[in-house]
């Protein structure tokens, strides 16, 4: 394939060469595990590298190093957040948890698994833009509620929740608040000194870091217990040999992900939305027009099906994703689009475009030209593509 425009950066990003350069020596030169200060020198050096990485990432969240642990990624982080709080408080305080309807699978499916074990889960509704109803959240919290898990930015439609307000509600009612920040970390600033959030899921794979490394911020004093048994690593929250090259790479990725970059991503996002909405008829933007993560545009092209669009785009060398049922392995349409409108047709033709460091404005223009062509072609063969006479 000659040309390649990759616009699925919320699924995975290209590893930055500078990140890889930092990681390399921890595979080939110093590959030791992190030992205690009384170990051998290679182990002590490895430990220092791990603690430096931890400090860089914790600092980005306004946290202390002791409040940040490494995991294997978002899925493990959110599992630990939810099941760890359950382990600490399930028998002590109660069996009630609140999550939003548009959470990504680690949170949503953890909640569903707990439901089968007898927990009561409230799946909080969102409005047409994907924003949770905070008044409703306050009403749902009871003295049996042990956890509220509401994401920061949505994986599909990019909507940003008001985590300050949500955190305040939880704090007032003395309930632990976890947020999945996989799609916002370093793109939107979060400072735990001002945002009343107790646990935060983050990952390297969305910010040009390596796959297989993520982390969890756990505010000091939060009641949570480890869910895997083994050694005493990561302040005894997460057993298992530390992924030191991954941690070092994650820290470098965090350093490279700047506010300037967020602005550049936002400009690309705004440009693609502006061009598509002005040039292609019968389209609608999914998610909130302003309150959205900088790297996400999600647009429904009426009268066409998403897998057909992605396949055509792929033939032109452009990678995008869709919420259509036909695209998924399970043949389930996007639960996020269902939650914002309950309309199957909207998911059927929804296309997600997510931007990263290596995209250019020229690629944005080219993508719009191509998508305009592809949608027009598919509408020609669609029974819904022309007005009835």
């Amino acid at each position: 394939m000659e040309k390649s425009i990759y616009l699925d950066n919320s699924a995975a990003t290209k590893l930055d060469k500078r990140v890889f350069d930092e990681m390399k020596s921890y595979y080939f030169d110093n590959y030791a595990v992190a030992t205690s200060d009384f170990g051998y020198s290679k182990g002590i050096e490895a430990k220092e590298a791990l603690e430096n990485a931890r400090s860089v990432i914790a600092h980005r969240l306004g946290a202390s190093s002791q409040e940040f642990i490494f995991t294997s990624g978002s899925t493990e982080s959110s599992n630990l957040a939810i099941k760890g709080v359950v382990k600490a408080l399930g028998d002590k305080k109660g069996k009630h948890i609140i999550v939003s309807k548009i959470e990504d699978y680690p949170v949503l499916h953890s909640a569903k698994a707990l439901e089968k074990e007898g927990f009561t889960i409230d799946y909080l509704d969102v409005d047409e833009y994907g924003l949770v109803n905070t008044d409703k959240l306050a009403e749902l919290i009871t003295e049996k509620t042990i956890l509220v898990s509401i994401q920061h930015g949505n994986q599909e439609i990019g909507t940003l929740q008001d985590i300050v307000k949500i955190g305040e509600i939880c704090r007032n009612k003395n309930v632990i608040f976890h947020t999945d920040a996989t799609h916002t970390f370093t793109r939107i600033p979060i400072d735990v000194k001002t945002v009343p959030v107790d646990i935060i899921t983050v990952s390297a794979h969305t910010i040009h870091g390596p796959k297989g490394i993520g982390g969890l911020y756990i505010r000091k004093g939060t009641e949570i217990k480890k869910i895997t048994d083994g050694g005493y690593q990561e302040f005894d929250y997460r057993a298992g040999i530390e992924n030191i090259p991954g941690a070092v790479g994650f820290a470098k990725a965090v350093e490279l992900s700047t506010d300037d970059e967020s602005i550049r991503l936002r400009d690309m996002r705004d440009k693609i939305i502006e061009l598509v909405l002005s040039r292609i008829p019968d389209v609608c933007l999914n998610g909130h027009p302003q309150r959205r993560i900088p790297q996400n545009a999600n647009i429904t092209f009426h009268y066409v099906e998403g897998e057909s669009v992605t396949l055509h785009m792929d033939m032109y060398g452009i990678s995008v994703s869709t919420g259509s049922a036909c695209f998924s392995k399970s043949l389930e349409a996007s639960h996020v689009i269902a939650a914002i409108g309950g309309n199957h047709e909207r998911a059927h033709g929804s296309i997600r475009l997510t931007f990263g460091r290596f995209n250019t404005m020229a690629e944005i223009y080219e993508t719009v030209d191509t998508i305009e062509k592809v949608v027009a072609q598919l509408r020609l063969i669609s029974p819904l593509g022309h007005k009835e006479v």
């Binding site: 009268y303 057909s308 259509s324 036909c326 695209f327 029974p383």
Partner: protein, 211 residues
């Protein structure tokens, strides 16, 4: 590249044959897939003497498998008599395409069902259906199971869109639990009418909405 689709499927997807619609077709059908929300329309032109399908066109609101199968099934049906074409199966279409991924079966079955429904529609409109059973409320309900509710991606019976069905002196009264101004009310009304109007003992169909 390990694509799930082979070259033949991709060719029919990229350059679908027999796309479009026919004005005043001799037979037509609209089929929707409850599983994924795909939809297909088929139009037939049949020679009244030989019963050969002289022209066939389709439109698809569907994924790659749906488009490719519709393309191949129209190629297979063209030039055959309606009796021969009726016997075409999903397997014939899949074989002609060199195979389809198993999970995509339902998207492609839709195209084959569309062909059969269009032939049935032709036969009913041309008095070719023998052993006619009188229409009952159950017949009507069964036919409405093939009308898709685009909001849910399931049929209108399964999604409780039918508030009431009444059958009296060859007139069907259908009450749909939806607002008349709803964005999909016209599509659903048109499809329900299309499914019912070929019933041999029905003279009139009155479709109303609850709001």
């Amino acid at each position: 590249m390990a694509f799930p689709y082979n070259e033949t499927v991709l060719d029919h997807f990229k350059n679908p044959r027999n796309v479009g619609r026919l004005e005043n077709p001799d037979g037509k059908s609209t089929e929707g897939s409850p599983a994924c929300g795909d939809m297909i329309k088929l139009y037939l032109r049949v020679n009244p003497d030989t019963k050969i399908i002289e022209d066939i066109k389709f439109e698809s609101y569907g994924c790659a498998s749906n488009i490719a199968t519709a393309s191949i099934i129209t190629e297979l049906a063209k030039g055959k008599t309606i009796h021969e074409a009726k016997k075409l199966t999903w397997k014939d279409a899949s074989d002609a395409l060199g195979g389809l991924p198993p999970i995509k079966v339902h998207c492609s079955v839709l195209a084959v069902e569309g062909l059969r429904a269009a032939i049935k529609n032709y036969e009913e409109r041309h008095g070719m259906v023998v052993n006619l059973e009188p229409t009952t409320v159950d017949t009507i309900r069964n036919r409405l199971r093939r009308v898709m509710n685009p909001m849910k991606g399931l049929d209108m019976v399964a999604t409780n869109l039918i508030k009431n069905i009444k059958l009296e002196d060859g007139i069907i009264y259908l009450l749909i639990d939806l607002s008349e101004t709803h964005q999909f009310s016209n599509v659903i009304k048109e499809e329900a009418r299309e499914k019912l109007e070929t019933l041999w003992d029905i003279n009139e169909i009155i479709i109303e909405f609850t709001e």
